[in-house]
Amino acid sequence: MDVNEERQKLYDETASLIADAAMRGQVSGAEMGFLLSLLDQIMVKHQYPEMVDLLKKWTDQEPDEEIDLIIKETLVNIDFNNSRSVEANLDTIKDLLSVQGGKPYA
């Protein structure tokens, strides 16, 4: 299997896994929508690479229930078809992470 085929298989499997998790009630419809859109952004459309960095930073930080909830709600409400909405929401998340981490996000 060449790299492209492997990548394609990974994409299909991941997308199916997300949709399956929603079907079984493990994630909500809105969460599924966000995760699938994120997958498309990373593997097909190659837009908003800074989003992945932000998500990594978020998962690396100490959990904070209140802020985590706000970040999650911000993420699931992103409209990926509207670049202004995406950028505005990413800025919000950066601010929240800087509050959570105690320093501005670089």
């Binding site: 994409y11 299909d12 997308a15 199916s16 949709a19 399956d20 079907m23 599924m32 097909v44």
Partner: protein
């Protein structure tokens, strides 16, 4: 019993081919080219499996909404429509997504799906005819055979969408057209006081509008000019009249200019500030503000630009189909065909041009849009393969400078204010031809207009 016997005689694999259906659907998810081709060639009823037909409908629906139909978008669409009700449904979609083929082979797989669909219709015809024969007591042989022949003709000679006009349909169509024109003429006289409503899109020149009644859907318009004599300016003048002034959607394919060059030209056309100065940046602050205002008009327009140095006739078809589906374009302008890649590099130039022009005429008719093709004239003002091109097109125009001697000596031209170019109507399928319309072409501002009468 009859029905069962008739069905059992045809092996199942003859009537459907699920693999081909999966391959087509999968490539629609992976390649835009495949998506355009399948969207154009197939319909839901061509799929044997109702599930595959539904997947096809969902992909087409996404595509029409200008959403790239990826596997992820398909899952989201399926979820929002409530058609994914069990993990098995997701498995089935995943199975389809994994049947990817190289999109070079898409035509082969579409043909297989289409052929099976036609075979099923043929089998339906045989089965129903057999059943009907078995049930009739007094058979009217002539009637039965006539009906069978008509159905069979529909299957063999005509696609479902094709339509043969009966004498009464043709008469009704003719009367409707005459009535529509009669009412329009009355309306002009009573309401508009002489302002001419057009049959198609405005040409951007009052005189040409009066002669042609506009560029009509299905029309192929050819505009010829020598190098440096306003081909692109004419194209953008047309685009301005239709997409900016009337806000109708058009697609502009340019084979030799970059995105930046096209964008800069618009700055000059819409602001009336000299193109050279805009290019150099030699403008003052108030002019900058005028230009900014001009671009806001472009932002609100229906102008879609596709710079494409490696344009081929096939690619132009594919792009036009895409924009017709997604943006309902009413016109496509190809600037210009001399730069199109050849079907076959061994062919002589005139044959290449003839083929391209034929393709564009078919495209105009199939998509019901006007297509304008720009061609380059030889230094002596002639056009290679002109006669053949003339046969194919509905309107052939030439743009040429008015010679200095003619400007001085032709008394007719004295009736116009500052004409410097002729827009010559070489052919006009629906009206007069052989006429030169004096126009003013401002090369600095890249604008054109009818020369005003003094």
């Amino acid at each position: 019993m009859v029905k069962a016997r008739a069905k059992s005689q045809v092996p199942e694999e003859t009537l459907f081919d699920l693999e081909s259906e999966y391959r087509v659907l999968s490539s629609m998810l992976h390649s835009e080219e495949a998506c355009i081709e399948a969207y154009d060639q197939l319909s839901i009823s061509d799929f044997y499996s109702p599930h595959n037909g539904n997947v096809f409908a969902m992909i087409c629906n996404l595509y029409e909404r200008d959403l790239r139909p990826t596997y992820v978008e398909l899952l989201k669409e399926g979820h929002s429509l409530g058609v994914l009700t069990s993990p098995a449904d997701i498995e089935q979609l995943k199975y389809i997504a994994l049947q990817y083929i190289d999109d070079q082979n898409i035509k082969y797989w579409i043909k297989r799906v289409k052929d099976k669909s036609r075979l099923r219709r043929y089998e339906d015809f045989l089965r129903i005819s057999y059943q009907s024969l078995a049930e009739q007591k007094d058979v009217d042989v002539e009637q039965v055979l006539m009906e069978a022949e008509e159905k069979l003709t529909n299957l063999t000679a005509l696609e479902i969408d094709d339509h043969v006009d009966s004498p009464s349909e043709m008469a009704a169509l003719g009367y409707d057209e005459v009535e529509r024109r009669f009412l329009r003429y009355k309306e002009i006289k009573e309401l508009h006081k002489g302002v001419l409503p057009l049959d198609g899109l405005t040409t951007g020149f009052n005189t040409l509008d009066n002669i042609t009644l506009g560029y009509k859907p299905g029309d192929l318009i050819i505009l010829g000019a020598q190098t440096g004599h306003g081909k692109t300016a004419f194209a953008l003048h047309t685009a301005r009249a239709i997409a900016v002034e009337q806000q109708k959607n058009i697609l502009y394919l340019n084979t030799e200019m970059s995105r930046q060059q096209i964008a800069l030209r618009w700055g000059s056309i819409l602001s009336s500030i000299e193109h050279d100065r805009i290019r150099k940046g030699d403008i003052n602050e108030s002019e900058l503000s005028i230009i900014l205002n001009a671009y806001s008009r472009l932002r609100e327009s229906g102008f879609y630009s596709y710079p494409c140095p490696n344009l081929t006739p096939e690619k132009s078809i594919s792009i036009a189909r895409k924009f017709k589906v997604q943006h309902n374009i009413e016109m496509m302008i190809v600037d210009y065909v001399g730069r199109m890649e050849k079907f076959d590099p061994r062919q002589p130039e005139w044959q290449v041009l003839e083929q391209i022009v034929k393709t564009q005429k078919m495209l105009a008719q199939n998509l019901n849009i006007a297509v304008m093709v720009l061609v380059q004239l030889n230094p002596d003002g002639t056009l290679q393969g002109a006669r053949r091109m003339k046969n194919e097109c509905d309107l052939m125009l030439k743009l040429a400078p008015i010679p200095k001697e003619e400007l001085e000596e032709n008394p007719d031209l004295k009736n116009f204010r500052n004409p410097n170019y002729y827009l010559i109507i070489e052919k006009n399928r629906d009206g007069i031809s052989g006429k030169g319309i004096p126009i003013v072409f401002d090369q600095q501002r890249q604008t054109m207009k009818d020369a005003e009468r003094t």
